[in-house]
């Protein structure tokens, strides 16, 4: 990774984050004033940063590092998948589901309840001696404006346009009293979140094939050049699909749903102990 700082970029045109790619090459602009290129075959990153970007801790933490791992990760043994990860008493939980179903609000509620937050939107998976490990990047939890009805903490914040163009609150988990954050966990269980109009929370066992299909169907399309990256991701998804998995159908608030998950963990762990 070759990073150059150039003060001439301090006067560059202001523009939002913008990325494009073709085959193994990816490049884009990162505000403020910076430009970055990725060569995924040669595993090489070259960036020119404005001094404002280089000196800004949040630029590295919230933009450059997560985006670099997201783009380059699969070629260096770390697979990004769209799900949240939390941990309770050594049990790593993955929260997956379709877009807009409420994964982040549930993640915030579980964090508020005392589960350790690993990641919200994206979780990065690797294998260490054939054991699956989930990684987070200490990123904030992204909540859509309507989440304010469930979290008083949001009243002090102002939503802003996030990287994908959505208006959202980006919440430091430390805002929730008693919350803890870690950057790694061993995933043990998966919950697929589904919203229903019927009150209550129901856990239904989910077949391994459905887990496999969901993660394959929702993974970023990779070009033919990145054959090793595709194989690694397929391997990680195969391993994930062997984990115990439940569909969680809920018509309740995030707080009530998080309470149901916590009871479910305790009861299931007790039953299997």
């Amino acid at each position: 990774m070759d990073i150059i700082v150039d003060s001439r970029l301090d006067t560059a045109v202001k523009r939002p984050a913008y990325f494009r790619g073709n085959g193994h090459l990816v490049f884009g602009f990162l505000p403020p004033g910076s430009f970055i290129t990725y060569d995924l075959l040669r595993k090489y990153v070259r960036a020119v940063l404005s001094t404002a970007a280089a000196r800004d801790d949040s630029f590295w933490r919230a933009l450059l590092i997560p985006i670099t791992i997201g783009i380059l990760g699969t070629t260096v043994g770390v697979v990004p998948l769209h799900c949240a990860c939390l941990e309770r008493n050594g049990i790593g939980l993955l929260i997956a589901g379709d877009s807009g179903v409420g994964k982040s609000t549930l993640t915030a509620a579980l964090t508020q309840r005392g589960l350790t937050l690993i990641s919200d939107d994206w979780t990065y998976f690797s294998k260490q001696q054939s054991t699956l490990v989930a990684h987070g990047l200490f990123s904030p939890i992204k909540l859509l404006p309507d989440a304010i009805q469930f979290f008083q903490e949001l009243r002090e914040l102002t939503p802003a346009i996030s990287l994908n163009g959505e208006l959202a609150y980006e919440v430091d988990p430390a805002r929730f009293p008693g919350s803890t954050v870690n950057n790694t966990s061993r995933p043990s269980w998966i919950f697929f979140l589904e919203r229903t109009s019927t009150p209550g929370c129901h856990f239904v066992s989910c077949p391994s094939a459905s887990v496999h299909e969901f993660f394959e169907k929702n993974a970023e399309r990779l070009p033919d050049e990145l054959i090793d990256a595709r194989a690694l991701r397929a391997n990680i998804i195969r391993t994930l699909s062997t984990l115990p998995c439940w569909i969680l159908r809920t018509g309740e608030s995030p707080q009530r749903t998080s309470e149901a998950i916590d009871h479910f963990i305790w009861e299931t762990k007790y039953a299997t102990a």
Binding site: V5, R15, L25, F27, D39, V48, E220, R221
Partner: protein
């Protein structure tokens, strides 16, 4: 010929737009080499001599993608060069990447770049990049990032 209407490409699993289709194809003779061009906009087919020989592999390939979500006009070019790659950004209106070893060039070109601007400014630029790659001097006379930049 009327230019095509370009809709906004939307594929949540292809945020980098790697898979925009480029069904229009032509082969040109440039600096004594065969250059294959693929694009999704006939206005991006360069006004260069076509290659009459329809057989045989191309020496270099251009993929020119019209991108409805790349706004703005051309800005002064910014270069990032290495032994294997040349990347040029002219604002979001035009981003170019050239892999010297694979001999593949691709460009995202915004809809604000009209055909005349493309033919007058961008085509000569692409030809220059091609010539430098073919001559084994891919960074050629392009202005590389200055040596006084600090490494962190």
């Amino acid at each position: 010929m009327q230019p095509l209407e370009f809709s906004h490409y939307s594929d949540p699993l292809d945020l980098l737009r790697r898979f925009i289709q480029t069904p229009l194809k032509a082969t040109y003779r440039l600096h004594g080499a065969r250059v294959g061009v693929e694009t999704n906009d006939c206005a991006l087919l360069p006004e260069l001599p076509l290659d009459a020989d329809l057989t045989g592999p191309c020496t270099l390939e251009w993929k020119l993608i019209r991108d409805a979500d790349s706004p703005g006009l051309l800005e002064p070019p910014m270069f990032l060069t290495s032994a294997t790659l040349t990347v040029v950004a002219m604002g979001t209106a035009c981003l170019l990447g050239l892999d010297h070893e694979a001999r593949k060039l691709f460009a995202f070109i915004g809809t604000d770049i009209d055909p005349a601007t493309f033919q007058k400014y961008l085509v000569p630029f692409l030809c220059r990049m091609t010539k430098d790659v073919l001559s084994g001097d891919p960074v050629g006379c392009f202005v590389s990032w200055s040596n006084d930049s600090a490494h962190v």
